[in-house]
């Protein structure tokens, strides 16, 4: 059983309705891309939040990730829109 912590920021947080959630990953989820395919199936709010993944960025363990980035038990995985600081 692999547990991970998901974090959401900016409009992704607003659309999902929570800032974070703890999840147990299905066995077939190995990468960020797998997660992006699976998450929208979890609920209507997840489906709405992840409807357009072109505008979703990801960090794994506080470092920017790509769709190919592997995920493992205990990871902190954050989803957010493209950054707009400065």
């Amino acid at each position: 059983m692999r547990s991970v912590k998901l974090l959401y920021f900016a409009w992704l947080r607003e659309r999902v309705g929570v800032a974070e959630e703890d999840l147990v990953l299905p066995a077939n989820i190995a990468t960020v891309a797998d997660l992006l395919t699976w998450l929208p199936q979890r609920s209507p709010v997840h489906a709405a939040a992840f409807a357009n993944t072109a505008t979703v960025r990801c960090a794994v363990n506080q470092d920017f990730a790509t769709p190919a980035t592997p995920i493992s038990a205990g990871d902190e995985i954050a989803f957010f829109p493209p950054v707009t600081g400065g």
Binding site: L7, F9, A10, W11, A59, Q62, D63, F64, A78, F80, P81, P82, V83, T84, G85, G86
Partner: protein
């Protein structure tokens, strides 16, 4: 070497200059950039701006950006301060200071630091308009292009 802070409080550019240069006589050039809240978004008046960030990753990302600047230029000091929370038009958002023995390194590093801060540190801006509606600021392609010119 880098002084990196994420805070809700305002900053004083004069105090930060003094802190960076205190006790130093080897600095020949100190360059700065201050980003402030503009009172409109594409001509539409805004009444406030709220900045959200990713605690932990933000500081790590800012440290990586400062380390990259130090790798590219011979710097004697860097200060990066980014505010979060709700700010008003005219308020300070971000301060970049870079010190070097000579001006060009300080000026170029300052430009690099703000370009990368805008595109590689996890901050998000939300604007509030006169009618009370809110809107998340969208990332700009020209910010990406500005960051890419350093790669």
């Amino acid at each position: 070497m880098a002084n990196i802070r994420v805070q809700t409080a305002d900053f004083s550019i004069g105090a930060e200059y003094a802190a960076l240069a205190a006790g130093r006589t080897d600095i020949g050039g100190l360059a700065s950039f201050v980003g402030t809240v503009r009172n409109n978004a594409k001509g539409r008046p805004i009444t406030a701006m709220t900045l959200e960030h990713y605690p932990g990753m933000t500081e790590a990302a800012m440290a990586r950006i400062a380390a990259e600047a130090s790798r590219r230029w011979e710097l004697l000091g860097i200060t990066l301060i980014h505010r979060v929370g709700t700010l008003l038009p005219g308020d300070n958002i971000v301060l970049v200071l870079a010190a070097s023995a000579h001006r060009q390194a300080a000026l170029d590093a300052t430009s690099f630091l703000i370009d990368w801060l805008k595109t590689k540190a996890p901050f998000w801006k939300k604007e509030r308009f006169l009618d009370g509606t809110d809107s998340w600021v969208e990332a700009r392609a020209d910010d990406e292009q500005a960051a890419d010119r350093w790669s």
